[in-house]
């Protein structure tokens, strides 16, 4: 959201839920995520007085850093924030500690336990611990096992573990990983993070649906003709080629972020807003979701890969020429697909999902297109009346927009579409917290509502299994179409909708 003047009366009011005393243990503390997202999010919570004085962060990685080195490196990485809030940083940094830990080395994990006991005494953190696994996915299972073996997960009320994405790379590996972590900790201790769920606007899908009476009665197959979910990026693969080459857009974006948006858009209303009720409904709707053609999945999915593009003054390198990418790579940087949800609410409504890199705009949105009026009484300025659309803008320009027909001014009775818009900036004017601020706070509060449960993760992987198997076994059936960078993907993607008489919304 855009920068706006702060509401002076709003300062200090974000203290609705109090995080209990505890130590947040970050594994992979020497990695990017720690200094780019996690520690800044914690510092933000500290400045909002949402962290208690009895709080500590213990960074863990293999590097032999000292507490002081860890503090210095974090301060360097956050230089502008530190300079702006020098006193607060000094107070916050007093609670930063570092312990060299190799999760594969049991004695090292035992030492970690001793260090944590020391921190409990020093900072009165009451034995409450949140372990954040910001490590290679290869170490999720062994990491959990090491922590459990050292007794660090034995008290479900005082310890929990946060696991970054990707959680598995297909249905089988996700099942196996779930099995391993569930032998180490109870499900209510396991927090599988999807940072999209930390976004204010993603959570707003729930509030719009379930806090208003006007939407829910029409939120079904009787009124909605199709749904599009888009997550478009303008950036390329950047420095993530190593990971992205083995992942691709389907695993990197669709299985988690887009699927979560799909679940929130389509789930039934939970009986109450508690973690299990919420996650039950999400899991149920994902279990009812199917590719539009499971027998011939190549007919309901399009893959693409960006080629070179841009202008003569600002040329853009194609994916295969990006550093670290195989020059003959068949990894998709774009994917579009059609799904159905086989339940009473959504039977027969097509859901179109797309995501890609190097597209013309950075945006995420959910577009619900309503059925046409049964009789056209009026001439329409555009030839035919435009179907009503509700657009939930996830980012940027966060908000919602409703398109409907009105009488065009003049002597005739012609209709034309107009927009009615709600904007977070106009209504609230405050930048939302970064997703990690909300999600870290929730994990430390022990609130898993915005984290994905094992059955949700498995249902999401199972949904895309026919595609993943096809890519693995017969990639030629699901070719990777090239598209020019800064265009809206390959033409085949447009054809996917054209076959249904539809077109992607051009945002």
């Amino acid at each position: 959201m855009g920068a706006v003047l702060t509401n002076p009366l709003r300062v200090g009011l974000r203290q609705e839920r109090v995080i209990p005393p505890q130590c947040l243990v970050i594994f992979g503390a020497s990695g990017d995520l720690t200094h780019r997202k996690l520690v800044p999010a914690l510092f933000e919570l500290f400045r909002q007085r949402r962290l208690p004085s009895e709080f500590a962060v213990l960074g863990c990685a293999r590097r032999p850093w000292s507490d002081e080195e860890f503090r210095r490196k974090m301060a360097e990485a956050m230089a502008s924030e530190v300079a702006e809030h020098r006193v607060a940083w000094e107070q916050f940094a007093a609670g930063l500690f570092y312990e060299p830990v190799d999760l594969e080395d049991p004695p090292s994990v035992v030492r970690l336990g001793q260090r944590l006991e020391g921190i409990d005494r020093l900072r009165a953190t009451r034995g409450n611990r949140t372990f954040y696994l910001s490590v290679s996915p290869n170490f999720y299972g062994s990491g959990c096992r090491s922590l459990a073996a050292a007794g660090l997960l034995s008290d479900p009320s005082r310890s929990r573990i946060v696991i970054e994405k990707p959680f598995g790379r297909d249905y089988g590996s996700a099942q196996e990983l779930n099995r391993v972590v569930q032998t180490c900790a109870q499900e209510n201790q396991i927090f599988r993070i999807d940072h999209y769920l930390g976004k204010e606007t993603v959570q707003n899908i729930l509030v719009m649906r379930f806090a208003n009476t006007i939407f829910e009665p029409i939120w079904n197959r009787n009124y909605i003709s199709s749904v599009q979910i888009t997550a478009a990026e303008t950036v390329g693969v950047e420095e993530r080629a190593g990971y992205y080459e083995s992942s691709g857009a389907l695993r990197d974006m669709v299985q988690n972020h887009l699927t979560q948006m799909l679940a929130l858009t389509t789930m039934e209303a939970p009986g109450r807003f508690d973690p299990e009720s919420m996650r039950n409904e999400k899991a149920k709707v994902l279990q009812a979701a199917r590719l539009a053609n499971e027998d011939e999945p190549w007919k309901c999915c399009v893959r693409g890969q960006y080629g070179s593009g841009g202008s003569s003054t600002r040329p853009i390198t194609g994916y295969r020429h990006e550093p670290g990418v195989n020059p003959e790579s068949t990894t998709e940087t774009y994917v579009a697909m059609k799904l159905f949800i086989n339940n009473w609410r959504w039977q027969g409504v097509p859901f179109y999902l797309r995501t890609g890199k190097r597209l013309p705009k950075r945006l995420s949105e959910v577009v619900l297109t309503f059925r046409e009026a049964p009789v056209h009484l009026f001439d329409a300025a555009g030839g035919a009346p435009t179907p009503n659309q509700l657009i939930l803008r996830i980012q940027p320009n966060e908000g919602a927009e409703f398109k409907f027909e009105v009488k065009a001014p003049g002597s005739g009775m012609r209709s034309r579409p107009v927009d009615m818009a709600f904007s977070y900036d106009d209504s609230f004017g405050e930048p939302s917290d970064e997703g990690y601020v909300r999600l870290l706070a929730d994990a430390m509060l022990g609130d898993p509502t915005l984290y994905t449960r094992s059955d949700e993760v498995e249902a999401a992987w199972r949904l895309y299994t026919p595609l993943l198997e096809l890519i693995e076994d017969a990639p030629s059936r699901l070719p990777v179409y090239p598209y020019e960078a800064r265009t809206w993907g390959p033409a085949a993607s447009d054809n996917l909708l054209a076959a249904d008489g539809l077109a992607w919304r051009r945002p």
Binding site: V18, E54, D155
Partner: protein, 431 residues
């Protein structure tokens, strides 16, 4: 969460045997308890209202220290028979004093400190020390100790978590034995001191208990307004972490006012405030002054003058003039308003009106009304030409114990900067 009983029957011990007993208890039973490294909570549990109501036969015992509905009902009924105005809040110390003038010599079991509110015990204080002063000025010191634990969740264990210590006796006896309390407070753990009574009483006991970095919890609605605000200022100035329940109860008013100015299109109006009116219940002005002071601080107003305003028989109001950063004047007026059914604490806010007048555009009038009271007085007169933003402020329905539990669950070793800025200004606003 329900109120939790101690795990074992409280054991009465001679005062000098208490430290030794507790040491043995920790050595033998509690050494590995999850409460071992949490915090100490010291409570000054006056409960004068409850004690007086029991003494004059208007309330059955036992005396627990909890402000439940029965106590409030009995207090409201007593206010009328004591000849106090209907606006007298049940927790107004004047009411307890007035009931004290009624006859009666009933007795009930005194269980103060032996109950642990579930929300508090869930945080497993290592030690909960209750000082329970009695009406009988000659009562010698009694000391009770017990282990306690929250009632176990289904399937969980039932081991003890911490201990409770009750010191009961006359205020004088408690004062003389404060030396007993100090060694019971673990020096290496946070210590909270909850002064759950009027701030006017036993200053020497408070001075002894709330020393140094101990986190003091008070309620500035209880006691003489001048003394309450001065105490806040003194403690804040001295660097003591202080938490004021009266300030915390302002949360929904602050939130509602902030909400009005969330849309950026309204922000500029905050630079053009010309008038602030606050209506409060009864004669205690502290809560209203804290709200006004918070607003003045956030908007950068300088206090120019303050004066008493004739309250038309209800009690004096308070008027003041502030200067905005652009040199323009803001007029402030806080008036006491009589009510039929007062809220629990003295000086609850009934309504707020803020008028913003810029040279361009029509003036904006913001009115916030208490959900239980309405604010017809603030809605009257001359607003037809103004843009009106009117909100109803929801009232929190939480007990003192829940508020304290919230503090204990994630406490700070410093005073909230907003309170630290508002309290001195509120003190200056008192004429």
């Amino acid at each position: 969460m329900s109120t939790q009983l101690t795990l074992q029957a409280p054991l009465a011990l001679p005062p000098d045997q208490v430290p030794g007993y507790l040491e043995r208890l920790w050595d033998q039973s509690l050494g590995s308890s999850p409460g071992a490294a949490t915090f100490t909570l010291v409570v000054w549990e006056g409960s004068w209202l409850e004690q007086q109501l029991v003494r004059c036969g208007r309330l059955d015992g036992p005396i627990t220290g909890f402000l439940n509905e029965k106590v409030l009902e009995a207090a409201r009924a007593a206010a009328a028979s004591c000849g106090l105005p209907l606006s007298t809040a049940p927790m107004d110390p004047k009411l307890a004093w007035a009931i004290g003038q009624l006859g009666g010599n009933h007795h009930a079991e005194d269980q103060r400190g032996q109950f642990v509110e579930g929300a508090i015990s869930a945080h497993m204080p290592r030690r909960l020390i209750t000082l329970a002063p009695t009406l009988d000025g000659s009562q010698p010191l009694e000391t009770l100790v017990a282990a306690y634990c929250p009632l176990p969740e289904e399937g969980a264990g039932s081991s003890a978590c911490g201990d409770v210590v009750v010191l009961r006796g006359s205020t004088g006896a408690l004062h003389q034995n404060l030396d007993l309390v100090q060694p019971l407070i673990a020096p290496d753990l946070p210590c909270w001191v909850w002064w759950n009574s009027s701030l006017d009483e036993a200053p020497e006991v408070m001075a002894a208990l709330a020393t140094g970095a101990r986190r003091l919890v008070v309620d500035s609605s209880l006691g003489d307004p001048r003394r309450c605000l001065n105490l806040l200022v003194e403690r804040i100035t001295a660097g003591q972490p202080i938490n004021d329940l009266n300030w915390l109860r302002l949360r929904s008013w602050r939130e509602s006012l902030a909400m009005v100015f969330d849309p950026p299109s309204r922000r500029d109006a905050l630079n053009h405030v010309v008038q602030l009116d606050i209506d409060v219940e009864g004669s205690n002005p502290v809560k209203g002054l804290l709200l006004a002071a918070w607003l003045a601080d956030r908007l950068g107003w300088q206090l120019i003058s303050t004066y008493a305003v004739d309250g038309d028989g209800v009690g004096d109001g308070i008027g003041a003039e502030f200067e905005r950063s652009d040199g323009e004047t803001v007029r402030f007026r806080q008036m006491p308003v009589p009510v039929g059914v007062p809220k629990t604490h003295p000086g609850a806010i009934l309504g707020l009106r803020l008028i913003c007048q810029s040279s361009q555009g029509s003036p904006l009038c913001v009115i916030l009304c208490s959900e239980s009271g309405g604010c017809m007085r603030l809605e009257s007169g001359g607003m037809a030409s103004m843009e009106l933003a009117e909100e109803v402020v929801p009232l929190p329905n939480e007990s003192e114990e829940m508020e304290v539990a919230r503090l204990l669950s994630g406490g700070h070793d410093s005073t909230n900067p907003l309170l630290a800025a508002a309290a001195p200004l509120a003190a200056k606003l008192l004429p």
